[in-house]
């Protein structure tokens, strides 16, 4: 018998009316008995399953054990991933408004770093450049809004510097990698770098104002000056990055942007000169207040009444002391004027180059303007630094003198108060003991000078000579 015949005979076994099949009567009877039995044993009230339980039972029936295990493991993984992502997203979104020193600030930085790392890993230089720009923008905003605590400021400035440097580097790489993409990205880069540059200008201006504020201590002024220097430096870097992006643009777009850029630079420089002139003016008066309280009285060796009745000689002596610095500041202002003239000349050249269609050369010239601006800024800030240093030095000297003769100073204050009373009396009734120099002074002028002079002299510790 062949295997095929054997198979056919086996299949036929079921179809034939053989004893292998059950008796029909048995089937019917057995069913009847069985149903009667199970009906009597089954609970009449069906168990109340919740919808969840029903779904679970159905699920278990239609899904095999293996599939169920896989689904369970998969869904667990999904849950973990979703929870992680959701937690991360919530954390990141909550941290987006955080400032340096806040608890969530590190989350904000970590999120930024992760994004940059991912972009870097995928080799998407365009995205990386944009992310570095975003970071720089955020750091600038933070600098603008945060408390100017030196440590925090230092960190933010360092990060900003790094981001700006990275913008330049990644854009350069993008340019080498894909010039078309770079061209496409350049517009956005130009716009963003310009925005950052403008924000940095505001930060620098604010810091520069802080550096000359009379109410600020010299330490505070020094800090503000350092911040100004650093921000100016970063701004220079970001401007350079902008020029690099402009170089990739179409000639028409580039032309407009360069023209605006050069004009803006010259305007900035002019504004800066005006600001510096104001600073110089203030510098000649501000230290005078400080200096006059020390140098004025010791040099003149005047008596109490002399000091109390006139401030004019004090100021004169102070200005003499300051004459060296004034000269230096004036030189700086003159230099800046010269620089602006030079910048204007270059601007003219840039204009000509743009008209001639030499965009690259125009950009190079613009870079020259940028260099001049940078040098001018550096020099001006250097002078400002010197003024603050001088101020600090004088304050230290004051403090030393104050420590050496505290008792005398106390006495001096009392005597000054007494002398003030005397002065008032003298105005009413001229005294015989009135000093000769003092007698030359107009009593009406003296009346006006009384209050400030007393204020100045009251800080003076040296009263032994009186």
């Amino acid at each position: 018998m062949t295997p095929r015949e054997l198979q056919q005979q086996l299949k036929a076994l079921r179809k034939t009316h053989s004893p292998i099949n059950p008796d029909v009567s048995f089937v019917a009877q057995s069913k009847k008995t069985l149903l009667a039995r199970i009906s009597s044993t089954k609970e009449h009230t069906a168990p109340a399953y919740s919808l969840g339980e029903r779904l679970y039972i159905i699920g278990r029936m239609f899904i095999s054990q293996k599939t169920a295990c896989r689904v369970r493991a998969g869904s667990l993984m999904c849950m973990v991933i979703i929870t992680t992502i959701a937690g991360w997203t919530v954390g990141v979104s909550a941290s987006s408004q955080s400032m340096p020193g806040d608890v969530l600030y590190s989350v904000k930085l970590a999120a930024e770093k992760t994004q940059i790392m991912v972009a870097s890993a995928t080799g998407d230089k365009e995205a990386e450049t944009q992310l570095h720009l975003e970071s720089a923008k955020r750091r600038t905003a933070e600098l603008h809004q945060m408390d100017k605590e030196p440590k925090k400021v230092k960190k933010v400035v360092a990060r900003l510097k790094k981001s700006v440097a990275s913008v330049g580097e990644t854009f350069k790489e993008l340019k080498e990698q894909d010039s078309e993409k770079a061209k496409y990205a350049a517009k956005e880069v130009t716009q963003k770098t310009e925005n950052i540059s403008n924000s940095l200008r505001e930060v620098a201006n604010e810091a520069a104002k802080g550096a000359v504020k009379i109410e600020n201590t010299t330490e505070k002024k020094q800090e503000e000056l350092v911040l100004t220097k650093e921000v100016v430096e970063i701004r220079h870097d970001i401007d350079m990055a902008e020029l690099a992006a402009i170089a990739v643009l179409d000639s028409e777009d580039a032309k407009d942007i360069i023209e605006d850029k050069v004009e803006e630079m010259i305007e900035d420089a002019q504004e800066f000169t005006e600001a510096l002139a104001a600073v110089t003016e203030q510098a000649t008066s501000t230290p005078t207040i400080v200096v006059s309280s020390t140098v004025g009285i010791t040099e003149e060796d005047v008596q109490t009444q002399e000091a109390a009745t006139t401030s004019t000689p004090i100021n004169v002596s102070a200005i003499e002391e300051e004459s060296l610095e004034d000269t230096e500041q004036e030189e700086v202002v003159e230099n800046i004027d010269e620089s602006i003239e030079r910048m204007q000349e270059i601007a003219g050249e840039v204009q000509q180059l743009l008209e001639a269609g030499s965009i690259d050369e125009a950009i190079e010239k613009t870079k020259d303007v940028q260099e001049i601006t940078q040098k001018t800024d550096d020099r001006a800030l250097e002078v400002q630094g010197q003024i603050i240093e001088e101020e600090q030095k004088e304050q230290r000297e004051d403090a030393q003198e104050g420590e050496s003769e505290p008792v005398a100073a106390q006495e001096g204050v009392e005597e000054v108060e007494q002398s003030q009373e005397n002065t008032v009396d003298e105005q009413k009734v001229p005294d015989e003991n009135q000093d000769r120099e003092h007698s030359d002074t107009d009593p009406i002028e003296i009346e006006g000078d009384v209050e400030p002079v007393v204020e100045v002299v009251s800080l003076e510790p040296e009263r032994e000579d009186i």
Binding site: L6, T16, I20, L34, L35, K42, S64
Partner: protein, 185 residues
């Protein structure tokens, strides 16, 4: 939806009704589907109508109890559940017989009485094969019954026997070879 898939889905529905609602009517439908199959399976092993009927009845009762007492138990295959219960019940019967030393009357004759009466026609030839099948060892009997008599696919047979597909295929091959040897002797 193919017929097989359709029957599988309807079987699962019935199973759900039995497990979740202890639905006797649903179980009755499952009974209709499996009564002949289980009876044949039992009969091939016992060769006694009375015992086969009793055991088949017991199998269905046990399945009902199992399903209603374990409403949340995952049942991968309804047919697998019936055949496994039948196999276990037969094993229990063998154990009892071993203790009681009872030899089935029909087994003594070797061939069912009905078969011996009609040896000359085709029907008799077919039934003779059954006699030869009974000479095979149990797992060979099972695979031949499931694959050729009941018409299950190898995959379904593997699932019912709780064996791997490849193993089932090899088993079937060996069983057929052995059966041929017995017939050709």
């Amino acid at each position: 939806m193919t017929n097989k898939t359709h029957s599988m889905v309807s079987e699962k529905k019935l199973l759900y009704r039995v497990q979740a609602h202890k639905d006797a009517e649903a179980f009755g439908r499952l009974y209709d589907t499996y009564i002949e199959k289980i009876y044949r399976f039992v009969y091939v092993k016992l060769s006694n109508h009375t015992d086969a009927e009793d055991i088949t009845h017991d199998v269905f009762l046990k399945v009902w109890q199992y399903l209603t007492q374990n409403p949340q138990k995952r049942i991968a295959s309804v047919s697998g559940l019936f055949y496994t219960t039948a196999r276990n019940t037969i094993v229990d019967v063998y154990r009892k017989r071993a203790k009681q030393q009872v030899v089935p009357i029909e087994e003594g004759h070797g061939v069912p009485e009905e078969c011996r009466m009609q040896k000359i026609d085709t029907k008799m030839e077919v039934e003779t094969i059954l006699v030869h099948v009974k000479k095979l060892k149990e797992e060979y009997q099972d695979i031949i019954l499931l694959r050729y008599i009941e018409g299950y696919s190898l995959k379904e047979a593997a699932q019912i026997l709780d064996k791997k597909y490849t193993h089932t295929r090899v088993l079937l091959h060996r069983a057929m070879k052995k059966l041929q040897e017995i017939i050709n002797v």
